[in-house]
């Protein structure tokens, strides 16, 4: 039972990292892959190009606030955006299960195109494969994206320093809860909506801050706690988060309480974590508040010197607790 892929290998937690370190990195070894960023940065004739890929297997394919088509554009656009790149071109690979209704396919592709149009990217190439019934579940989408790195962007985890502030552009956990609420077996209704959205426009709004922004990540799989853990791993700094400052909507909170979930570990699809010089954080905060996707932005924590390589939470009641990497995922196929 040991030497097989388990669901937890795909959740972005400890087992995912094990795969990357023990299989992918050693075999595929090359300097572009090695930094393990959201996109690779390659230089072509003096221009810095960001290049990324992601697959979407969300179940169900339609959920409040989005669908697999919107997600397939948003997710890939956001992986480019957090590198400080302007997304330009997208590829779209479809794996469709035999028997999938064509009108539904049309709905998915229309939503995909609408999202692409709104953010200013073009789907320029694609591929379709159909597999026998049971060999896939409805439809899986892979998108790759190419963008041009904005000249003022200098985003590098190496630049993160003790004292830097961490911002997030709104309340957390909503994508996971919205998808979960659609899974029939739960048997209760949740008034939750996914935050699924492409974030380039938001980052473009704060372009003038790109020199003092050290690093950005979208808080997808593994949630805020998971993503921040990836950032601190092996570094000589830690991260302190302030539970009081982390925005969580009332309904997300209620569902989490009921199901024993922690919103800090739930996937988001429209949330970005921004590391910025402390001196500029309030300024950046008020700028972000002007954009519809940033109006609920908060400063949720800061980079600290100890404990190194760890993320911890100052709880609402003033105690402290380590937020570790997620081990087992309770919610597979959330994106």
């Amino acid at each position: 039972m040991k030497d097989v892929i388990r669901l937890a290998h795909g959740n972005g937690g400890k087992l995912s990292w094990q795969l990357i370190k023990e299989i992918f990195l050693p075999i595929l070894s090359n300097p572009h892959l090695a930094p393990l960023r959201d996109s690779a940065i390659v230089e072509v004739e003096g221009k810095k190009i960001a290049f990324t890929t992601d697959s979407y297997v969300v179940k169900p394919i339609f959920f409040p606030g989005g669908d697999i088509g919107k997600l397939a554009i948003s997710g890939t656009v956001n992986d480019l955006t957090v590198m400080g790149a302007k997304p330009l071109f997208i590829s779209c690979g479809l794996i469709i299960e035999e028997g999938f209704p064509i009108p539904t396919l049309k709905r998915v592709i229309t939503s995909l195109q609408e999202t692409a149009k709104n953010v200013g990217v073009t789907v320029v190439t694609g591929d379709t494969k159909v597999v026998e019934k049971g060999s896939a579940d409805e439809i899986f989408i892979n998108t790759s994206g190419i963008g041009i790195v904005l000249p003022e962007a200098n985003l590098d985890p190496e630049r993160i320093k003790v004292g830097d502030h961490i911002l997030i552009n709104g309340s957390i956990g909503e994508h996971a809860i919205a998808v979960l609420s659609q899974r029939q077996e739960l048997g209760f209704e949740v008034p939750a909506k996914s935050d699924c959205a492409p974030l380039f426009d938001l980052v473009n709004e704060i372009r003038s801050f790109l020199t003092c922004i050290k690093f950005m990540r979208d808080a997808t799989r593994g949630g805020v706690a998971g993503v921040l853990n990836e950032i601190v791993q092996g570094e000589d700094f830690g991260i302190e988060l302030w539970e009081d400052e982390i925005p969580v909507r009332e309904e997300t909170f209620a569902v989490c309480e009921l199901l024993g979930l922690d919103p800090l570990y739930l996937a988001n699809e429209g949330k970005i974590l921004i590391f910025v010089e402390k001196e500029r954080s309030l300024d950046l905060l008020s700028h972000l508040h002007h954009h519809p996707l940033g109006k609920d932005t908060r400063i949720i924590g800061e980079v600290v010197s100890e404990p190194r390589g760890k993320v911890y939470l100052e709880t609402t009641i003033g105690t402290k607790r380590i937020l570790d990497l997620l081990v087992e995922d309770q919610l597979p196929r959330i994106c």
Binding site: M1, L15, E257, T316, I317, G318, T319, R321
Partner: protein, 366 residues
């Protein structure tokens, strides 16, 4: 009232920990307070409640996780039914609990018909939709789960869904508390009684513990303020050498409990001795299905024999369940036994003490 955030309020927490420090200063010896509920254990570690207490006030975890106290025999029985072609339905946290030789996850991988459900009603529905299957629901849990299982049996009888059966492993908390005190292996100065269980049983159910053993009991909810208030009330009793039952969680728990739920349990179950992992047989601590419902009792209709062993090399779950040791005291904890590769039940269930310790307590100093 939102009923949650008020109970996580920093100023209130600070005031309470101040009061606790004051009353604790009057007690000059080590005090061991036990909770017997996984949700309490989780809240205590998740909120770092121990940090707020003077070092001589210790919080220990007892047998509060229903999956963990379920013995190998039960898992072995469930696996046997799966092997014999029954459709076994269960809550997810039972899947990976190791029995003597196998677990439900392993039986499923070998082709056994095992399905995770989110409620007893879902299991009943499966039976109704698949009359050709012999559907068994694994009835594991304390006073909180038993009424829902009872309801499903009453419905099954009414609707004549005769292929719906229960493998009852239900257990009752107060007899286990009594057994711990009688055995005397662990020193317990007070019980933080479980809010959910008490909502069904009522707070009166602990009266005999205070009376017979002179051990204070306080029923508490699961928010930081609830737990601290519970600890404070226990310490006040200890300081005054009193022993009585107090109810901190009266917004949910009534002295007589939930009469409707209790009558449903009464209708379907009878109280019998039951085997607890690590604690052996405890008198009057288990629920078996009454004769009137025997056609829904899989043990009565299709008895199976299992030979079970209790030995898992080095695993000290039994002692952890009794509060004799804490998870880090077990040599397997962490490297050998962890949530990815659990060896004992306390590491499997998210309500298990070891699993909770692994997730929420860290050796790293902050």
């Amino acid at each position: 009232m939102k009923y949650i955030s008020e109970f996580r309020e920093k100023n209130l927490v600070n005031r309470l920990s101040g009061r606790i420090a004051k009353v604790a200063s009057k007690i000059k010896r080590e005090i061991r307070l036990m909770e017997v509920c996984g949700t309490h254990a989780m809240a205590i570690l998740r909120y770092g409640i121990k940090e707020l207490l003077p070092p001589w006030i210790k919080l220990i975890s007892g047998p509060g996780c229903p999956v963990c106290v379920t013995p190998n025999q039960y898992i072995d029985e469930a696996c046997t039914y799966a092997k014999e072609g029954f459709l076994v339905t269960t809550f997810g946290d039972m899947m990976r609990v190791p029995g003597s030789r196998s677990s439900l996850v392993q039986e499923k991988a070998k082709g056994g018909k095992i399905k995770v459900v989110y409620s007893t009603m879902e299991a009943l529905e499966i039976a109704e939709l698949h009359p050709q299957e012999k559907v068994v629901f694994l009835g594991v849990g304390f006073e909180t789960t038993a009424p829902t299982v009872a309801t499903s049996l009453i419905l099954a009888k009414k609707k004549k869904i005769t292929n719906y059966m229960i493998l009852s492993g239900h257990k009752l908390i107060p007899p286990a508390m009594e057994a711990l005190l009688e055995e005397g292996e662990v020193k317990i100065d007070g019980f933080l009684c479980p809010g959910h269980v008490s909502a069904i049983t009522g707070s009166q159910v602990y009266d005999f513990i205070a009376r017979k053993f002179g051990v204070p009991c306080v029923v508490a909810g699961f928010e930081p303020v609830d737990i601290l208030q519970g600890i404070y009330l226990l310490l006040c009793q200890i300081a005054k050498s009193e022993a009585k039952v107090e109810n901190e969680y009266d917004r949910v728990v009534k002295p007589e409990g939930n009469l409707k739920a209790r009558s449903l349990m009464e209708e379907v179950f009878r109280v019998e001795p039951s085997i607890w992992r690590g604690m052996g047989v405890i008198d009057k601590s288990g629920l078996e299905i009454r004769k009137e419902y025997s056609q829904h009792d899989v043990r009565a209709r299709y008895p199976v024999k299992v030979t079970s062993s209790n030995n898992k090399k080095g695993c000290r779950c039994g002692e952890i369940l009794k509060g004799v040791i804490e998870p880090p005291d077990c040599p397997l904890f962490g490297d050998v036994c962890n949530p990815s590769r659990p060896l004992g039940p306390c590491m499997v269930s998210i309500e298990g003490t070891c699993n909770i310790y692994y997730r929420f307590s860290s050796k790293v100093k902050i």
